[in-house]
Amino acid sequence: MTTHPDPAVRETPGGQPAVPAEPFAATVAPQAGPVDPAARPGEPVHPESSRPVPAADWAHGLDTVPRAAETPEELQPYAELGLRDDEYDRIRQILGRRPTQAELAMYSIMWSEHCSYKSSKVHLRQFGEKAPPSDRLLAGIGENAGVVQVSDELAVTFKVESHNHPSFVEPYQGAATGVGGIVRDILAMGARPVAVMDPLRFGAAEHPDTARVLPGVVAGVGGYGNCLGLPNIGGEVVFDPCYQGNPLVNALCLGVLRVDRLQKKEATGPGNVVVLMGARTGRDGIGGVSVLASATFDEGSEQRRPSVQVGDPFMEKLLIEACLELYDAELVVGIQDLGGAGLTCALTETAASAGTGMRVWLERVPLREASMEPQEILASESQERMLLVVAPDKLEAVLKTAEKWGVWATAIGEVTAPSPDGRPGRLVITWRDQLVVDVPPGSLVDDGPVYARPMREPADLILLQADRAETLPRPSTPEALRETVLRMIASPNLADKTWVTEQYDRYVLGNTVLAQPEDSGVIRIDERTGLGVALSLDGNGRYARLDPYHGTKLALAEAYRNVAVTGAKPIAVTNCLNFGSPEDPGVMWQFAEAVRGLADGCLELGIPVTGGNVSFYNQTGAAAIHPTPVVGVLGVLDDVASRVPMGFVPRTASDHDQLFLLGE
């Protein structure tokens, strides 16, 4: 049964919020950049509440807060945006009116499965509850990525994320922006990204669409990672017909930071400036939100089809260097990457986590297309952007650093105080003097729906499990054995992966001690001491389909072993849970079992899950992919010189190695 979350709605303050006078509007453009008409600083802003709404804006369909208050019955396309009736009612309750177009777009994004984890939350809790105590963990689940201390001065951060659906639509850009996104997560923690890995799954090797998807995905992972200068130290390439139409493109990034450089996302300190840094904002990957949100107002909207996100790794490289320079100079109070939900997510999360409010002048956001509307700007998934919170006296230094690296940086707003009665502040956004958003940021981030979805063991599981490997015919003659060996060698899943891995730079940064085809990647993180980390990612959808609980434990155990055999001590786990639709009770059961398996496995091994990602809806029609939990384990090596590679070392004739088989 589906439970509805308890609608514990906060009281909505009446009247308009006090809109502070504009503090400052500074923009730096890349030194040699073109003049951007949309980033005109210094325009006066009048709080919309202080004057009547001009009729012209109505005609233009700009939906403002006062207009929303006056037209409570206006129909809104919330269902098309993926919101259920009760979810929409809840939004109205929170706001005490209907949402504006922009607000509706924001809630629909933040309350989506992707952002709110509404179906997975109740299960993922186990990771925290069952985690062994760890004094290494500097940041865990709930942050952009888990951070684990590995020496007195150094910590590492790592996380794996999915970019499955976009990679099916546009394999190159989907995979490229998948890498870009996870790299920004790592960057946001204060770390320099130092390596990537890419667990990939495709349909049947001989299927014509695999010939479209696979080369594009591999070129995209390589194109972005190589251009960022991040060595690729491992991954997976698995073929199975169940991934036809739903390829899995997961990407992991590893970062290293000095412990005292750990960054926070909280937008603390009323009066601090909110700065958007990186690429300009365009109509990338809006996912139909803007079109739909304005469907009832604007007939011409079909032309603005939602578009694919295109990555610019060069811009990301500049963004990385600029951010690291800001961290070193201690110029930022808070920082958050812009990922799936763009500005909406970054603004609400940074404010909500600090309990503060925010005042944003949306027209200051540098745009690629001047005709973009507020809800489009808020929903845009344009890549290579970060949101910074900066003390006013540091603003100039921040803008200078951005200028040095040739990235845009624009003060788009400021942090505002919580209300005097102690309640959190509000997120107030104007667009050319019109109030378009006025929401409690926490209502988008923390108060989204949470579902305990119905679960049922898939009906075919018993049959599948009954069909045991022991019942398969065994090769009994030398001929049959030869046949079996040849068939196995010819299997794409066992074939050499060099065609893929040769397209990745494994040498850049000069710290790669082990990389593919080794079981684990090993990266030196301190040249002075030889301190390093080992990383391995594993998953097996076929095992997990047969038994999601043990299949997930097996994935964990394999990654753990891979790390251990290099000589590293495993200390932390990340994971990417790729599943079908959570609305299918069978899938939901698989998911719950997988999470339980991973949490129990980690408890037994005594290492914590530090972060991860859930990807649902990997299915075509009623056919879901195999449940595919991908588990990553990170280990520490005090001196990478002592690592054990998997190959046998050639010896002089007299000095033979001995072979032992350990275990059963």
Partner: protein
Amino acid sequence: MPRVVVDVMLKPEILDPQGQAVANALPRLGVSDVASVRIGRRIEIDFTGEPDLDRAREIADKLLANPVIEDFTVRLVETDETAGAHP
């Protein structure tokens, strides 16, 4: 013999990092009056017999352009007008 030229450009709303990088470099060459640069592909197709525009359109659609992010046009050009012929 005329040749078929297929021009493939990113759709206007799609980010063009290449064009942007070039535009950003121009001021260093002393050029300040360029508003924007977009970079796409120009594909010249020579047929063995008569040039076949429909056929070229089909090739463009299936192979040369990525309809998710690109638009294309197909046209006939006299060979001596093409870039390759101008040293």
